[in-house]
């Protein structure tokens, strides 16, 4: 549309200029500067020296990085289906206009507004050996208490429990919003067609919100690959690195050991992993669409 009052003018760009300055200075530039850093040997005191892909070689041959990648992939593979499945269940269960449903919706979403510090604090106190809520429950049931945060395998699991507890609100809300977009007359038509509840669910409800389910899955994959604070505060990656995720590896490399170039290389690798995972998920969903 070329309305006369909408003539293209440079002066109009003044409205976007303030944001663009911040956007380029604090997002675009750091993005490319980070890529440049990953090709340099940089430490705390600056002093870059171009070393090509050697940082990448170092990261890729670091067994600690391998372990972090394994931990993260396992974490994503378990937590994302849990979040999507549980979110879908809650959305279906609470897609009603009653007071009870709306209260429970508010409750399930409420944990999402807490900071990672609070969430981990709560769950650490739950998982503390001997004095935690879990230990108490195990004692009452006459079971041997587990050192949730200090046992290999259990530590990553505990981080996952805290994460699901923290993040369940968003998938549920997105799926609820999608459910509410399904026109009511679709269900009225289904009722006239004598469809039962199960058929309505599998033939009308789920197909209608399938794009949102996929969207939620991609969002969760991207988010959970960036697992950081929960692991850092709850287990500090332990024991023996068994719960150290990739972002924590980046953090330790760049900000504890001040091997900035290597940390940047690891972060670029994670960026690529996330993009690939999201695209793979997207590809899977669109391929099924065709079939």
């Amino acid at each position: 549309m070329a309305e006369s009052y909408r003539r293209s003018r440079w002066s109009n760009a003044l409205f976007v200029a303030p944001y663009l300055v911040v956007f380029f200075a604090l997002l675009v530039f750091p993005l490319f500067w980070g890529m440049w850093l990953s090709l340099n040997k940089v430490d705390l005191f600056g002093g870059g020296q171009f070393i090509g892909l050697r940082n990448y070689a170092r990261v890729l041959s670091d067994p600690v990085f391998h372990q972090a990648v394994r931990n993260t992939v396992v974490f994503v593979a378990v937590s994302v289906p849990t979040l999507v499945g549980l979110g879908l269940f809650l959305a279906l269960a609470l897609n009603k206009t009653t007071r009870g449903s709306s209260f429970l919706r508010g409750l399930y979403f409420s944990s999402s507004i807490l900071s990672v510090t609070i969430v981990t604090l709560i769950w650490r106190i739950v998982f503390i050996p001997n004095d935690g809520l879990m230990a108490l429950i195990f004692n009452v049931l006459g079971l041997e208490p587990i050192g949730f945060l200090s046992t290999k395998g259990w530590s990553l699991f505990s981080v996952g429990v805290a994460t699901v507890w923290w993040c369940i609100g968003l998938p549920m809300m997105l799926l609820l919003a999608a459910l509410q977009q399904i026109p009511a007359d679709l269900y009225e038509a289904a009722a006239l067609d004598n469809a039962g509840k199960w058929r309505v669910l599998t033939r009308i409800t789920l197909p209608s919100i399938k794009p949102t389910i996929m969207l939620v899955a991609v969002i969760q994959i991207v988010m959970q690959f960036q697992l950081f604070g929960q692991a850092l505060i709850m287990t500090n990656g332990g024991p023996a690195g068994s719960s150290r995720p990739i972002v924590m590896y980046i953090y330790e490399t760049a900000f504890i050991r001040w091997d900035v170039g290597m940390g940047a290389a690891a972060s670029e690798l994670l960026f690529v992993i996330i993009l690939c995972a999201a695209m793979f998920q997207y590809w899977i969903s669109s391929r099924k669409e065709v079939a």
Partner: protein, 366 residues
């Protein structure tokens, strides 16, 4: 307060698509002109170009002798009423009406005076402190008109302002608009696709189709002497029926036409030399045909549907050759679907169209 509008050789393009081409139109001071046409014919675009909301790609627009197509919308001295009313949702009715005057730095008491007087004219004085969300559709419409009135513009522009109202309210508002025009005596341009609005409101109707003006004239002229087959088809309800003409011979008075399905008909009309015979047709309105008493010779119509409106009935059927035909009958008509009736008409009520769609009428001066 009212001024003439001069539209000269206006052209509008969206990229490669030409929407309006070489439109020229003169509007008298105080005239009520209606732009009528099917959706997408460019009638709203033309109105928005006068308002300054669309750029002009060629030609000029003048108001009261001053060229305005180069001015920003607010400086043109026109006011517009939008289809959606476009009231400012966060302002009260009074603020909505006074906003334009505020922008002109009009003194506060003058704004208050004009708002009050317009509100009284429109009978919305009791609503001045309300927000638009608290108003009914009809009330919003009045506020939109009031917002235009207080500016005391040289011309009013209406963009399908009645289409969001229900049928009863639309009829009433139509009457009120006509009264408003009489009282203000202002130049008004009104865009609509509703022919009843056009017929009842307009001093002059401008029919737009396919980038250009198809015909302009007084409402009855348009109805009775459509200039083209398009106008004949577009104006009038039910739509005019068309019968193809297969042959044509000169007669003592006018011509004799071979009309498919209706035989030979002699019409008193003078056709020019340039009349294109292939593709020619004749048209007749339902009210110009009548149902003949049983036994009288006429054209046989097999009745499909009878639409009874109370005071009259429309009989829809087909001729022997399958051409569809509509004829009006009285409200007490006893014709039923399945009947075969005989119809007749005055040959001079027929409209003749040549292959290019140009129309000729009885005793028209060629």
């Amino acid at each position: 307060m009212s001024a003439p509008i001069e539209i000269a050789n206006i052209t509008k393009r969206y990229g490669a698509l030409t929407v309006l081409e070489d439109i020229t139109l003169h509007i008298e001071p105080g005239e009520f002109v209606v732009f009528l046409g099917p959706s997408g014919c460019g009638k709203s675009t033309l109105l928005r170009m006068i308002a300054g909301l669309e750029a002009v790609d060629g030609g000029t627009i003048s108001l009261g002798g001053e060229r305005i197509d180069t001015l920003p919308p607010g400086k043109r001295g026109v006011a517009m009423v939008f289809q959606s009313y476009a009231l400012y949702p966060h302002m009260t009715v009074a603020q909505n009406m006074g906003f334009g005057l505020e922008n002109l730095k009009t003194p506060k008491n003058e704004i208050a005076r004009r708002v009050q007087s317009a509100a009284e004219t429109l009978e919305i004085a009791h609503l001045l402190d309300r927000k638009p969300a608290k108003l009914s559709g009809g009330q919003r419409q009045r506020v939109a008109i009031g917002r235009a009135i207080v500016k005391e513009p040289q011309a009013f522009l209406f963009d399908e302002p009645l289409s969001n109202l229900d049928a009863a309210l639309r009829g009433r508002t139509r009457l009120e608009l006509a009264q408003l025009h009489q009282r203000l005596g202002a130049t008004m341009i009104f865009v609509t696709h509703d022919q009843v609005e056009a017929m009842t409101l307009a001093d002059r109707i401008v029919i737009l189709n396919d980038r250009r003006i198809e015909q302009m004239g007084a409402p009855m002229e348009i109805y009775q002497r459509p200039a083209t087959k398009f106008v004949a088809q577009f104006v009038g309800s039910p739509a005019m029926c068309f019968l193809p003409v297969t042959g044509m011979t000169d007669a003592a008075q006018g011509v004799t036409l071979d009309v498919e399905g209706a035989g030979k008909i002699e019409i008193d009309v003078r056709l020019p030399a340039g009349f294109r015979r292939d593709g020619a047709s004749v048209g007749i309105r339902a009210e110009d045909a009548k149902v003949l008493d049983r036994g009288q010779p006429g054209i046989a119509v097999g009745v499909k549907v009878v639409e009874r409106l109370g005071d009259r009935a429309f009989i829809y059927g087909t001729l022997d050759n399958g051409t569809e035909f509509v004829v009006e009958d009285s409200g007490r008509s006893t014709v039923a679907s399945g009947d075969v009736i005989q119809i007749g008409f005055d040959p001079n009520a027929l409209h003749i169209f040549d292959g290019d769609g140009r129309a000729y009428h009885h005793s028209e001066e060629a």
